[in-house]
Structure formats: C-alpha cells, structure tokens
Symmetry: C2
C-alpha cells in the first residue's frame, strides 16, 4: 500500500517553543531519519487541532512554508479534533498515488493557554448545542462511559488504576515522554483526587505540547515499515445520540474495515498504540478493536497481558497517559512509536520478541472520529 520511511518527534512536555518551532523540529528529525530532504517531498499534511485558541494562528500550512521559502510545496492542514493525526495520515496515504513521498506533521501547543482556557478550547470537539451548553466536557463524557462499563461488566476503579500504572511504567523509560523518569506508585494513583467520578487525575492524560512527523513513501526503502491498512470512520459527535455508552461504533467499524483491508485477524497483531486519553478509553478501545470480547478487557489488564512483556503489549511508549496528548501530534506519534517498535529501535520501550504487525487506534472527541492504521515490518 505505502511505506513509512522516516520518523521524527520532539520531546513531549511543557515546551518553551512555538508551534512553528516544534513543527520544524519534528520535520527535520524525520528528514534526518529518512535521508530524504524537502526536495524529495511531494506534499505535506499538517495535523493540528487548536492553533486558533492556543496561538491565534491558523493557516499553518503557510506558517510551515515560511520556514522553507522558495519550496512552494502543496501543504494543507487537517482537523478532526483528537483524531487529526490519524486523519492526516489517512489523507497522506491517498496522496501517495500522486506523489512518491509525502510527509505528515502533527503538532500542538496547549501550554499557551490556562488550564481553564484549554478545557474550554478542547470542548469545541464536542457538540456546542447539546454537550457544551450542558457542561459535558470530555472528562465528564468519559466518566459516564466508565460508570456504564462498571455497571455492565463489573469493571472497577482498580482496573483503571492498573491501566494508569502500566502507562507510567512504560513512559518512565521513554525519553520523549512527558512523564519520562517519573516514578508513580499504585498508591499515588489510588489517592489522586476525583476529576469526574469515577475518573481521578491519574485516569486523565495530561495537557502537553509536542510534534511528530512521518514520511510516507510509495516505494519500499531500506528501513521501511509497510502500511497495510488505514480506515477512517465518523459517527455522531455527542454521546446523547448513541445507543451504547460502553463502545465506540466508529472504532469498531474502522477496526473491522482495517482488518479486512489488511486481510488479517485481530489475533495476529503484536503491538498496539491505543488512544488512552482516559484510562477507561483503553479498556473500551481493546474491546472495540476486537482483541478481546466486550467486558473482558479488565481481565487482560489484571493478568498483565498488555504490559511490555505480555502477550499483546498496548501503549509500550506510555500512551497518551504517560507520553502526554499534544492533540494534533498524537495520531502521528502513535505511528512513530509503532514504526520504531517494528524496526526494533524502541530502546528501553522495545517489545520482545520483535513485533511483526502493529496497530494504531486514534479517536476524536467521544468517538465522533476513529482512525485505525495497521503496519507491518
């Protein structure tokens, strides 16, 4: 289908740099990794959610062009809330029909806003008439889902704590993670204050700045990883229009389409980067992808099946919870991390034995957008 032929990523964290700076940094790292330069790139797809409120800056394609005057490339910006990165990759893959090499750069600079300002800005991913006016911000949305998951499947907060603990155990080793070298114990997680019951601080991904870039090529190069499927599916923006609060139909359908496109079964996946914007999202994501049955994700977590040494490592990078969730960068960063895993270059976060097939799961809002990408060594 197409090949990931270069990856780059800034440190994720609170960065004293502008959107333009981190886009450029991630881009240059991907060039260094690939051996390609700007003249080899046919088009660039930028993924960003909140350039407007965070920097009063839209038209980011021209901002990027300003950093390479005279290049005159086709560059566009894609926005689908927290799934912007996956969506930009989906679009870039379509573009490999026309161009030999294309680039995706995801970037977000959340720390420019106050915490309250960020919450208000992120609420724009939810329906303005129903959800925003009712104060149904994202921690509240995911709390409703957690309540229903607990009620229906006897999931407990302890299961969520195990998800958070795993994320931090992995992020601790990842030099680019927001929470690199941060030691977190299950007791600290258990004692953390409630955000929206039953979710506590450690159930929520942090506000983070960062950028990621990948180069996607029509042809295979030396270090390439193959993209064998990419599926993007949209659904209603608000939970109030859904039949179930324990699953995202868009993610289930995207996963099924992606597995069909790749012509593989969920069982053969070796490693997953999953959109754990909240811990409950990891349990729901596992069930939506179809690696376990509805309600069984908690047992997988309890049995340690998804740790770095388990049968199916999930978020060995630290995920959104441990690496941070610079919104527009997240979906691109997931592909970065899976590519590193499939190349065997994930350092202390490397999954062993060396994985052959990896999957990324990127969600916008409360499942209004879902993008599943499958990669093969």
């Amino acid at each position: 289908m197409a090949y990931i032929n270069g990856i780059g990523k800034t440190k994720f964290g609170i960065l004293n740099k502008s959107l333009a700076q981190i886009m450029y940094e991630a881009m240059m790292k991907a060039f260094d990794d690939s051996g390609l330069g700007i003249s080899d790139i046919g088009a660039i797809f930028i993924s960003n959610f909140l350039g407007g409120p965070c920097e009063n800056q839209l038209h980011l394609n021209a901002v990027l062009a300003s950093l390479m005057p005279g290049a005159f490339k086709p560059i566009v910006r894609i926005e689908t809330a927290c799934a912007s990165g996956g969506s930009a990759i989906w679009q870039a893959l379509l573009a490999t029909n026309k161009f030999d090499n294309v680039m995706v750069i995801g970037a977000e600079k959340l720390s420019s806003l106050s915490t309250e300002g960020t919450t208000t800005a992120i609420a724009m991913a939810g329906d303005r008439q129903v959800d925003q006016s009712a104060g149904l911000i994202f921690p509240a949305n995911y709390a409703l889902m957690a309540q229903q998951h607990m009620r229906k499947y006897k999931t407990t907060h302890y299961d969520l704590e195990l998800v958070a603990l795993k994320a931090h155990e992995n992020a601790k080793l990842n030099p680019l993670a927001h929470f690199f070298e941060k030691e977190i114990t299950i007791d600290e997680i258990r004692r953390s204050p409630v955000v929206a019951s039953p979710l506590t601080v450690y159930d929520c991904s942090p506000l983070t700045d960062g950028a990621s870039a990948v180069i996607i090529s029509k042809n295979r190069y030396e270090h390439s990883v193959e993209v064998i499927a990419s599926a993007l599916v949209t659904d209603t923006i608000s939970l109030t229009q859904r039949d179930s609060l324990t699953s995202f139909p868009a993610a289930k359908i995207a996963a099924r389409k992606a597995f069909d496109e790749a012509n593989i079964a969920p069982e053969v996946v070796d490693v997953i980067e999953l959109h754990d914007c909240f811990t409950i999202a990891e349990l729901i994501g596992m069930e939506d992808i179809g690696i376990c049955k509805p309600g069984e994700s908690k047992e997988w977590i309890q049995e340690g099946k998804t740790t770095r040494y388990g049968d199916l490592p999930i978020n060995p990078s630290g995920g959104l919870k441990g690496c941070g969730h610079p919104i527009g960068a997240t979906g691109v960063s997931q592909v970065y991390e899976i590519t590193a895993q499939l190349r065997g270059e994930a350092g202390k976060n490397q999954v062993v034995p060396s994985p052959e097939i990896g999957l990324t799961h990127n969600i916008g809002g409360v499942g209004g957008t879902a993008v599943i990408t499958i990669l093969r060594k």
Copy 2:
C-alpha cells in the same frame, strides 16, 4: 482525471442558520443535482476556516456525521485560510483514486461574530508574530499591494472601481449572491469611505455566510464536467518575506503547474472565477494566472474584456465582491459556478458563447496558499 458530477449551494448572505444547517443544505442540493445519495459517497471533505471563533465548534466532520447517523463515512476537515475550499477539492481529487464518488462541502458562518470579532478572527490567517502584532490586517495588506501596483504600473483607483462595478453588475443577476438585485452605480462606488488607503468599502468583499458542495467522481456521468488540472502551492505567510508586492508567486506557480497538467495554454480559457477578496486582487490574479502581462490587467478592465460579454469573462457570478466571501465555502463555490457555466446552466449569469474551459483561482491570506483548478466541458 475526475469529474464534477453534482453541485449545490445555499444562498450567500447573512443567514439565520447554523454551520450544520448550511452544510446539510448544500449537501442535499448536490445530491438532488447529481441523482446520487449518501450511500454512493466514499468520503467527504469539509472546508471551513472559522468554526472555532464563530460557533465555538470544531470537529465539524463529526457534526456532519451527526446529521446522518449510521452512515459512518470517512469525513475530514481541511483548513488553509481563505483557500480552504480549493484545498479541499485538491484533496478530494486525490481521493478519487480510492473512492468512486467523493464530496466536498465548504461552509462558513461569519455573521455569528461582531465585525470587530471577525476582523480579529480572520487575522489568524496572517502571521501572529509579524503581521498581527503590527496590526497588518488583510485590508491593510492588500492596500500595500494596491499602492505598489499603482506606483509600478500606473494603475488608478478608477481601475479598481471598474472591477467593483463589474462584480455588482453580475451579482445583481445571481439569485444566490449576497448582493442579488442590489443596484450599485460607479458614483456610489467612487464615494465610498476609505478602509485602508487606497482601498475603500467597495474594494472589499463583504462578510457573508454560506455553503457550497460539489460531488467529484472517478467516472463520467451524463452532466459531468471534467477536472483537467488542480494545483496547490504554498508560500510564506507574510508579505514581509516577499520580494514583490505586485504578484503572488504561489498563484503564478500554481497556474503554471495547472496549465502544464492540463496541457493547455492560458489563452484557451473561456471563463474564470477569480479570488477577488479585494478589487486589487482581481488585477493581480489576472496577471498571476498569465492571461495578461504584469501591469496590463487594468487595460483589460478598461476595455471591458472581462465583463460577461467580453473576450474572457471573469467572475460572471459576481465573484467574492458581489456574491460574498463565506471563507470556507468560497473555493467550492467557484467550482460550482464554473461547472454551472460549462453546463450552460448559469441562468442570467451565463456566458455566451457557451464556454468550454473554465478556471478557478483561490487564494489563502496574502498568497500564502494558492489553488488553481481547471475544468473542461
């Protein structure tokens, strides 16, 4: 390459409707026009610039999905400032490799903001560090270009008045134009107050709401118009980084690429929809496209060559000046208008003899983005 197989457009003006409503209305009109339905559409590309400040609503792909629950389509949003519409069409064309039929919906709802709020919001299309901090908003940017064009080529404000008069003469006949049935005389234009010298009120396109949709298909149908070229080029975001103030390099390069791709010369174009966000932009656009030499556009205007009855009608719809400039909708609306012209269905705005080849010219900011699309009957 691909075919325009359905078009739809709302009234352009101050509308008492939401972004969701006008997106839906334009979409349904395009379905009615094409005979296709949502089940025939493989993917949808939304073009919108200011959903954030105008409606506190991003994640518009999920907003649209909410209007057709159960459809689970791939939908994304594209933003490249005022060139968002052209950019979405450029992307949709890439997608016809994968999907038989795709849709582009451009929409903007500017009237939700105060005039001052809109000016601030639109300024996000300009560089935040250089232009925004200096107060270099878009009328000021284009005024600088007009001053230089006047100095270099002896263009006068009378030439700009003729551009405005032509726009209103055409818009007066177009039922979907913001200024439908509005009579404007050259005296009124001449007496209008200065906005940014030398530009006056009648040199500026108005703040307008509206939506447009087109369906693009891999195969030719009965009423299809062929897309024979589409070129998207980016440049520096700020005029302060440019060598010249009388031309947009991105537009010149995009036009050259498009003519190369279509394998035609500028001389064979029969009708143009040109991004006249300000009257001076029409003169510069004519020169950038290459239909006349630098500095000669004023003579074309003086000789009436670009009126509806001239050698090469430009903006027979009324353009941005006469129809309004609902930013995300504009580039899509241009393709709507050219398609209507090539089909011979442009009503009182129809160019005669029936045109064979049409071109759209869509600009973001002050030439940070340029998209040229060429269509053939």
